[in-house]
């Protein structure tokens, strides 16, 4: 019965998002992967006015058998620099995906909530300690890093020149670009510290 209900609901929800997507600019699409109704791909836009503006973010959505009585399992498939999202795994710390899930919620409302979370981080409920720490104590560096990540991972139009330079400088030393980007970000763009992590000793 549960699987049936989950399937019926997901089909209706897919139709709901398809219908609403014109008016709801932030929520781009929701589609089933490989024709399966238990693994979906959601796409949302970075909210205007935030460092994520212009970026397209993919969400990896798993539907448990008990859905909608259990929450969907959602993480970012696109890397994102945000206090409530793990910069390594994409895991999201959001109450409605855990204890505050309600059976009457839909994937569309959840995607809207995740988009809203991008626009207004909750630094007191951090998923990623380093990002959250930076958000609180070095706000402009946080904004720049978030915008840089939105550019390199989510296709946002504008990059951050000074960060481009530092990455290029280290790539020339023979390190992989993605490792350089991660380690510079995790070390507050301190080239020496990042070097120590990439080539210890």
């Amino acid at each position: 019965m549960a699987t049936n209900m989950a399937n019926t609901r997901i089909q209706r929800e897919l139709a709901e998002v398809a219908r609403a997507s014109d008016s709801e600019k932030g929520i781009v699409s929701l589609e089933a992967l490989d024709g399966r109704l238990d693994h979906l791909l959601g796409v949302i836009m970075g909210p205007p006015g935030s460092p994520y503006d212009g970026g397209t973010f993919k969400l990896d959505i798993h539907i448990p058998v008990e859905y909608p009585f259990k929450p969907p399992i959602i993480k970012f498939a696109t890397k994102v620099w945000h206090p409530n999202v793990s910069s390594a795994s994409g895991a999201i710390c959001l109450d409605i995906l855990k204890t505050n899930w309600a059976a009457a919620m839909t994937l569309r409302t959840v995607m809207i909530s995740i988009q809203a979370l991008l626009g207004s981080p909750v630094a007191d409920d951090p998923q990623d300690a380093i990002v959250a720490g930076q958000f609180k104590s070095q706000r402009s560096l946080f904004d720049q890093t978030a915008r840089y990540w939105a550019h390199i991972h989510a296709g946002a139009p504008t990059s951050v020149a000074v960060m481009d330079q530092k990455v290029a400088q280290m790539v020339q030393m023979g390190f992989r670009e993605s490792d350089v980007q991660d380690n510079l970000s995790w070390n507050g763009w301190d080239v020496e510290k990042a070097l120590e992590k990439l080539a210890p000793g």
């Binding site: 549960a2 209900m5 929800e13 008990e66 009585f69």
Partner: protein, 486 residues
């Protein structure tokens, strides 16, 4: 005649040498009053629990206009603080929109259930009276079944988005179709009533089910008459006076971490640092909320979550240092935690080892003396079978064995206690009294092992001496306020 005899002993002077074979009643009463470990609680039946709780439910229902069902849930959420509820409760006039929503005018319209997204005739829709949200019977039934399966009781929420309404006991039972599920829910709800009520304690033995009532709840010993377990009335763990519940938690955690940090951290259940109830982690996030007291804390470091917002590095550093395989985002980039200077660390370790060794030593003695006690009981049985005296003749030996176990347990826990006492003259006095009890106990233990060859009067004098010293030590402990464990 008796009086003369009594006076004769009284002249002996020392209080601890008073014979207890005379005036049993007076002795029992006065010793109960002056024994710092004394505690009065009684086993109660399920009906007796309901008598007490239903009276509170009826009272709150009458004064608030809430249904009995909702009043009961409200009481559980507020730890049965009726006065507190009535002081802050403001009766609200029903929201006109909500009234419209559930009004009979629309009763016959088919409606969509927001969970399965299907349309039903109104007769198949069921609304929760408290909030007015309605869903189809099948969805309620399935949802409630899943919640009960997860172990939920009083804390099942309405299915509507952002609705904080908690579903009442009768409402849930009425919608569950499976009778085993109903029973599981009823039991869980009963447990929630007990656990949220400070005057009740559930036996700590899993599955025993005995409930105890105390007029004046305290962190003192309960001896279960059904399963023979002994536990703390306040927190349900092993009885631990003279340590308070919080201190003994800290101590147990400390010795467990010391023994095997990794396996302890990997355990799936921990106790809420605020109300000490055992809770289970069931998700990936470390932001935990206790079901009973709603205290929010961090699973990794057990620290208060509110403070966590400001100093959340701690956890990740801890994780990185202990597990090594942590999230790569964690632990890199930040300087390591300041480590105490070598000498400070060594002093702290030596201090800990000092108390731990003694704690452990008494724990081992206690285990051996439990075996000894069993042997004593067997020996007494054999003697009676061989007509060497009656049960009454040998009663003193059984009493001595029991007393030894009680004092040994007390002594073991005074070492956990002493670890937390601040340095100074008060500590010296405490440790002096502790040493006194320790030597008396070792003597008593020695005598009991050779009981048949030791004279009865001598053994009884040792017993009184041990009791006197135990009381003195606990009285002293009561006056020492322990600093909050860090």
């Amino acid at each position: 005649m008796d009086d003369d005899y009594y006076d004769f002993y009284d002249d002996d002077g020392d209080e601890e040498n008073l014979p207890d074979m005379f005036d049993h009643k007076r002795d029992a009463e006065s010793s109960a009053e002056e024994d710092p470990e004394h505690f009065h609680c009684v086993a109660v039946s399920e009906e007796e629990v309901f008598q007490i709780t239903n009276a509170a439910v009826a009272n709150v229902s009458q004064h608030t206009g809430l249904s009995l069902d909702d009043a009961k849930s409200l009481l559980i959420c507020n730890k049965w603080d009726s006065d507190g509820i009535l002081k802050i409760f403001i009766p609200t006039s029903p929201d006109p929109d909500e009234t419209h929503f559930t009004s009979s005018g629309e009763a016959n319209f088919p409606r969509e259930c927001a969970v399965c997204l299907e349309t039903f005739p109104s007769a198949l829709m069921v609304a929760n009276a408290q909030c007015g949200h309605e869903f189809c019977r099948d969805c309620w039934n399935y949802y409630l079944g899943a919640q009960v399966e997860e172990g939920k009781g009083y804390d099942i929420q309405c299915m509507e988005t952002k609705c904080a309404a908690i579903l009442g006991e009768e409402f849930v039972i009425g919608l569950l179709s499976n009778s085993a599920m109903k029973e599981k829910f009823r039991l869980r709800f009963f447990r929630d009533c007990i656990e949220s009520h400070m005057n009740f304690a559930l036996c700590a033995t899993h599955g025993c089910g005995r409930v105890f009532f105390a007029e004046h709840p305290d962190n003192k010993r309960v001896s279960c008459d059904k399963c023979k377990a002994e536990f703390c009335f306040a927190c349900g763990s092993d009885y631990h006076l003279p340590c308070d519940c919080r201190t003994i938690r800290h101590w147990w955690r400390k010795i467990a971490e010391d023994a095997n940090t990794a396996s302890y951290m990997a355990a799936h259940t921990k106790d809420c640092p605020s109300c000490e109830r055992s809770i289970e982690k069931n998700g990936g996030c470390n932001h935990m909320v206790c079901r009973i007291c709603k205290h929010e804390f961090c699973w990794i470091c057990m620290g208060d979550w509110k403070q966590h917002g400001k100093s959340y590095y701690e956890c990740n550093r801890y994780k990185a240092a202990k597990e090594g395989t942590a999230d790569p985002a964690a632990g890199s980039g930040e300087p390591p935690l300041p480590v105490p200077k070598e000498s400070e660390a060594r002093i702290a370790l030596n201090k800990y080892l000092f108390y731990f060794t003694r704690w452990k030593g008494h724990e081992e003695s206690l285990a051996l003396e439990q075996k000894l006690f069993t042997q004593i009981q067997e020996r007494v049985q054999t003697k009676i079978q061989h007509q060497q005296g009656t049960l009454i003749d040998w009663q003193y030996l059984t009493d001595a064995g029991k007393l030894l176990l009680k004092c040994r347990h007390a002594l073991q826990y005074t070492y956990a206690f002493a670890y937390y006492v601040e340095d100074g003259p008060k500590r010296m006095l405490f440790e002096h009294l502790q040493a006194d009890l320790e030597s008396t106990i070792e003597n008593l233990s020695f005598s009991i092992e050779r009981a048949e060859t030791v004279d009865v009067a001598g053994l009884q004098a040792q017993m009184r001496s041990a009791e006197f010293r135990r009381k003195a030590l606990f009285k002293d402990a009561k006056m020492l306020a322990l600093p909050a464990p860090s």
